[in-house]
């Protein structure tokens, strides 16, 4: 290990930690908002009246057909033009949340539609109302399918947070680039940043597997 690198790493510890903090905040906000919206998207796609489904379908198809970077850039440039005064951070998080919502919407729709029709029939047959069927029969089964894929999506959001460096948000990648522009040690610092992201995502992956184990019904 190059001692000069370790020295520089120590010197840069605060900005890098701050960058990591911003990354965490971006990811958490985007995941929370995206999941919240995504649940409604999924419910609309599964149970909504046809015009609503059509509208929401259009939204998700458009968002999913567009690269995340384009969503981020569009959000950054367009929103200030139409009078919405958002700074880069807010615009970026909004774009990521929209991206997340389309994915979560698909996941929720897929999980609800994967439940065999016989489950609703059996629930009806014992006299449960739709509300009761949804809460006690459908949601528990859907959640078991949603959770592992959702954890995957959460990891994707952490990776996508790096794109906000392109619009100047001071998350980990931008912080790393700033350190590199001072020290010219691109190799070790990019590697270090990569390793940090890897650690976070790998942690999320392991967490996902743990959740999967805990929620699987014994068979």
């Amino acid at each position: 290990m190059d001692l000069a690198f370790l020295d520089q790493l120590w010197l840069a510890r605060l900005p890098l930690l701050r960058g990591l903090g911003v990354t965490v905040v971006i990811s958490a906000l985007a995941i929370a908002a995206g999941t919240f919206a995504g649940v409604f998207v999924g419910l609309a796609l599964t149970y909504g009246p046809r015009p609503l489904r059509w509208l929401v379908r259009g939204y998700t198809d458009f968002v999913r057909g567009t690269p995340v970077l384009v969503l981020v850039l569009a959000s950054f440039y367009v929103l200030s033009t139409i009078g919405l005064q958002l700074n880069a951070f807010q615009a970026g998080v909004l774009a990521l949340a929209v991206f997340c919502s389309s994915h979560v919407g698909e996941i929720v729709r897929g999980a609800l539609q994967a439940i065999p029709a016989g489950q609703s029939e059996a629930a009806k047959a014992i006299g449960l109302t739709f509300r009761q069927t949804f809460i006690y029969v459908l949601v528990p089964q859907a959640i078991r399918q949603i959770l592992p894929t959702w954890v995957n999506t959460a990891a994707e959001m952490v990776k996508a947070s790096t794109l906000l460096s392109i619009i100047g948000v001071g998350e980990l990648l931008l912080a790393t680039q700033e350190v590199i522009s001072r020290t010219f040690m691109s190799l070790p610092f990019y590697f270090f940043a990569g390793a940090l992201y890897f650690a976070v995502n790998y942690g999320i992956e392991r967490f996902g597997r743990y959740v999967d184990r805990k929620t699987t019904v014994p068979s």
Binding site: P67, L69, A74, Y77, I180, G194, Y197, F198
Partner: protein
């Protein structure tokens, strides 16, 4: 607010956007072709018995799937030169995207290989085929048909990832769109058109791949 939509400026530059799209597609095709070969080899390695094959393959897949692609792109273009490997922008991006694709495709192919019943290999052995022959004539054809839907969505995802080449100033669609945006100040129009181009291309790709699925499907 006072912003009136005026697409004229964008249409004037439409050819630049199309050229950018063309480059995006080329980047995607190049990376995916290499990625497929790499992914197939790694998929077999992941299922191999000896640890010296499974280990590195596993590390490669885990490392590339859990690292943000932007970090990989910047690393390859800016950091590798310090090791003496100096690649041009496009080569650097294709190289990175190929390695990235390889890791994702390896997982897709691995799942596909698992879906091929072991009885197929045994039947092949029983008629005297070698392992390599079994792999090429029996296992891979069956696996490909099972895996086409997953493969299609991975391809489309990788095509969208070409937009990240804009980060190192490769003149593909996103980079051109940003330039036009900055030049003409036609913010909304530029991004709507760029988005539509991506969405349209993805739809065409999806439809095309569905056709391939249909053509390859075994009559039942």
């Amino acid at each position: 607010m006072g912003y009136t939509l005026n697409f004229a400026a964008v249409w004037r530059n439409f050819d630049r956007l199309l050229e950018g799209l063309g480059l995006s597609l080329l980047l995607a095709v190049g990376a995916i072709l290499i990625g497929c070969v790499l992914g197939l080899v790694v998929a077999f390695a992941l299922r191999a018995k000896p640890l010296w094959l499974r280990g590195p393959a596993g590390i490669y897949v885990t490392a590339f799937r859990n690292t943000p692609i932007l970090v990989l792109i910047l690393f390859t273009y800016f950091a590798l030169p310090q090791l003496g490997v100096r690649l041009g922008k496009i080569e650097s991006f294709v190289f990175t995207l190929a390695l990235y694709s390889g890791a994702y495709l390896a997982e897709v192919f691995r799942a596909g290989l698992i879906s091929v019943p072991p009885g197929m290999r045994e039947a092949g052995l029983a008629i005297g085929l070698s392992e390599m022959q079994i792999r090429t004539s029996i296992v891979i054809p069956i696996m490909l048909r099972n895996v086409l839907p997953s493969l299609s969505s991975t391809f489309i995802s990788l095509f969208k990832d070409t937009s990240l080449a804009a980060a190192i100033a490769v003149p593909e669609l996103t980079f051109e769109a940003r330039k036009i945006n900055v030049e003409t100040f036609r913010v909304i129009e530029t991004w709507i058109v760029a988005s539509c181009l991506y969405v349209a291309t993805c739809s065409v790709l999806a439809a095309g791949l569905r056709q391939v699925e249909r053509r390859l499907a075994v009559p039942r």
